[in-house]
């Protein structure tokens, strides 16, 4: 996701607790650096905190944070992204691999409808050293039909200005490409910029349209989806993760681990966990909680089972719902303006 997504994830905790005098939320910014995240988190643990809601930059490196927290009896929960540590109490996330998989399934339906047997695809990924980026790519490439040809994989720092020139070069080399898959919002915006520069920027209704889609919506990208230039984005409940895990954390701190949902449960918004429908800057960001009903399962990765996973639902943004007020990009635009 881009800066807006990260901003929303952090700020959502503050928005949600702004009317709670007994809650103090500190947001730590890893600045895309696993070691900085570890240092900051360990400093916070040393200063004394009641719990940590962790969106790790790196699945393995962040295990150090969990280890340090566990040594001090500080509970840690994951949201958005997984830490490979058995000491995580619970994680609320959609799953990066699952995001790519959903994109692959929807793309498969699109090419079947268009009768494309061997479509050519460019994949555009952000910082590939990040586990998130890898899983988002493999979720897509491992679930598209065999006939799909990945003609180019480009990597950028995930910003539009860095990804656009490379995407443009890839288009130059593959002018007959059928689709561009972008694994974050910045790469998606870069893909649209490149298509514009190459005079290949057409709405879906135009037969010259190059399919463009990916993971994460965003304030601007949602508008492009609405206008028909970007086919779809697999969006996560980014602004719901923090309130959701805060509610889980409070349950744990009040009543212990048995109060948390157990593997095999189905967790329904408003019944098992209730994110209050608060008003923030005149809007209600949590009015429609599309994260659930969510199945409780076990998070598995690298041939290991790690922790109980509250498997949140995604929301595919299409032209029909691109202006929906419950999407994080639109929440951000309305609150931050």
């Amino acid at each position: 996701m881009g800066q807006a997504g990260l901003f929303v994830q952090g700020q959502a905790a503050k928005w949600y607790t702004q009317d709670m005098d007994n809650i103090e939320v500190n947001i730590l910014d890893a600045q895309f650096d696993a070691s900085k995240q570890t240092q900051d988190a360990i400093n916070a643990i040393n200063q004394g905190v009641d719990g940590i809601l962790l969106n790790p930059f790196d699945a393995r490196a962040s295990a150090q944070i969990v280890e340090a927290a566990t040594a001090e009896n500080v509970p840690v929960m994951n949201f958005d992204t997984a830490t490979f540590s058995e000491d995580i109490l619970i994680g609320a996330l959609f799953g990066q691999y699952a995001g790519g998989q959903v994109a692959a399934e929807r793309f498969t339906r699109m090419i079947e409808q268009q009768g494309l047997e061997n479509p050519k695809v460019i994949t555009s990924v952000f910082n590939f050293e990040s586990t998130t980026s890898q899983k988002r790519l493999y979720g897509f490439t491992e679930n598209v039909p065999d006939g799909v040809e990945i003609v180019n994989r480009i990597e950028s720092d995930g910003t539009p200005e860095d990804s656009a020139p490379d995407t443009q070069s890839a288009l130059q080399a593959n002018p007959d490409v059928d689709a561009i898959y972008s694994n974050n919002v910045g790469s998606g915006m870069g893909a649209l910029t490149a298509l514009q520069q190459m005079d290949m920027y057409y709405e879906k209704s135009n037969e010259k349209h190059v399919m463009a889609f990916g993971i994460d919506g965003g304030p601007e990208l949602n508008q492009r989806i609405g206008a028909g230039y970007y086919d779809f984005a697999v969006d996560q409940p980014l602004h719901m993760y923090a309130p959701l895990t805060l509610e889980l954390m409070w349950k744990y701190l009040d009543s212990g681990e048995s109060a948390l949902p157990q593997v095999g449960d189905t967790v329904t918004p408003g019944e098992d966990i209730n994110i209050e429908n608060k008003t923030v800057s005149g809007i209600q960001p949590w009015a429609k909680q599309f994260w659930g009903p969510a199945e409780m399962t076990e998070y598995e990765a690298d041939d290991q089972t790690w922790w109980p996973w509250l498997k949140c639902n995604d929301q595919v943004i299409t032209q029909d719902n691109a202006d929906a007020p419950f999407l994080y990009g639109n929440v951000f635009r309305r609150i931050e303006g």
């Binding site: 800066q3 807006a4 901003f7 180019n152 990597e155 720092d157 200005e161 656009a164 080399a173 910029t193």
Partner: protein, 345 residues
């Protein structure tokens, strides 16, 4: 006797000409290297790389980086580092974008350009003032500015700003057609970038101030003894660097059709690399900014060629590092050869 003397004189002149020719080649080595790189990729990508559209694209995508490389280059020539070029580009772009869309909507784009240049120049002035007047190490001064203004971008806005006036975006995103001379319209940014390089080259080589910049970069104490106001030169150099960085931000904004919170921030190392492989000395006092343009084009050519060849992105990053390392090795060797040739003259 006189015939023998004339012959010696002719031989000496010929040797001098040959040495001067070799010096010319050595000082402008980036252009044959760029040519070789272009031919190399053209052979591997015969249908694509030499297309008009690709050449235009290479020039266009070099424009923003080109201005930022100029900002770095002029500082290096003056014997200073400027680590803040990327964040100044991003901060001034975001500041001007918000000025035009939120603080004073409806303001003409040209006012936004002036605001952008004022912000860039202002930050440059701060850098230059502290370095020249308080003797702060340029590396540390600009490192702090880099951090402050990279964070400052997010303080201004964590979202991208679109919907900017067409007149503001024209320089970086507009096209001009040259009545039948070229097959299609050409981005304004291409001409602007070329003009900018020529203008800065002219200022540095043909004006008194420019010669002062080289003198200060070569030996600040000697320059001061020769009557040059070295503090003033350093401050003006950093103001220019800030304004050029901001101009880079303007060109990138036009390319993206909007200002993003990450704009420009990843441009420091490519700009630095371009200046160095263009032959601008890390120790100051030497280098031709026109060759930094060659460095920018070489980086763009390699980046585009590797992507088109579908080389693994991890390898691309490593290759960029190898290019810089090779350039440093080459220029270190060239410097030795150059000194020998100069001794022969």
């Amino acid at each position: 006797m006189s015939t023998l003397s004339d012959l010696n004189s002719v031989v000496s002149d010929l040797q001098g000409d040959r040495t001067r020719m070799m010096l010319l080649v050595l000082d402008n080595l980036i252009w044959p290297i760029l040519l070789i790189a272009f031919v190399f990729f053209s052979l591997l990508l015969p249908q694509i790389f030499t297309q008009y559209q690709n050449v235009e694209f290479l020039l266009y995508t070099s424009a923003g980086l080109g201005a930022i490389a100029l900002a770095e280059g002029i500082c290096l020539i003056s014997g200073n580092f400027d680590l803040s070029v990327g964040s100044v580009a991003g901060f001034s772009s975001m500041f001007a974008a918000l000025f035009l869309t939120e603080w004073f909507p409806g303001t003409p784009g040209i006012v936004g350009v002036l605001v952008l240049l004022a912000v860039g120049g202002g930050i440059g002035f701060l850098n230059g003032f502290f370095i020249a007047e308080f003797d702060v190490n340029p590396f540390l001064q600009t490192l702090s500015t880099f951090i402050i203004f990279e964070g400052g971008i997010l303080v201004l806005s964590s979202r991208s700003v679109y919907g900017l006036p067409e007149s503001y975006l024209w320089l970086g995103g507009g096209d001009v057609s040259i009545g039948g001379l070229l097959p299609q319209s050409v981005p304004v940014a291409v001409f602007f970038m070329l003009g900018l390089f020529v203008a800065v080259w002219f200022m540095l080589t043909k004006t008194r101030f420019g010669r002062s910049v080289y003198a200060v970069g070569g030996d600040e104490e000697s320059a001061a003894e020769a009557g040059i106001d070295t503090s003033r030169v350093v401050i003006v150099v950093f103001v220019l660097s800030g304004m050029l960085s901001a101009t880079g931000g303007l060109l990138l904004t036009g390319f993206n059709n909007g200002a993003t919170p990450t704009l420009g921030t990843s441009q420091l190392f490519p700009a630095f690399t371009a200046a160095v492989i263009g032959g601008i000395s890390l120790f100051g006092g030497r280098g031709n900014v026109l060759n930094a343009l060659g460095g920018v084009l070489l980086l763009s050519t390699i980046a585009a060629g590797l992507v088109m060849l579908n080389i693994d992105p991890q390898i691309v990053q490593a290759i960029n590092g190898i290019v810089l390392f090779s350039a440093i090795l080459m220029y270190t060797s060239v410097q030795r050869v150059r000194e020998r040739l100069l001794a022969d003259l």
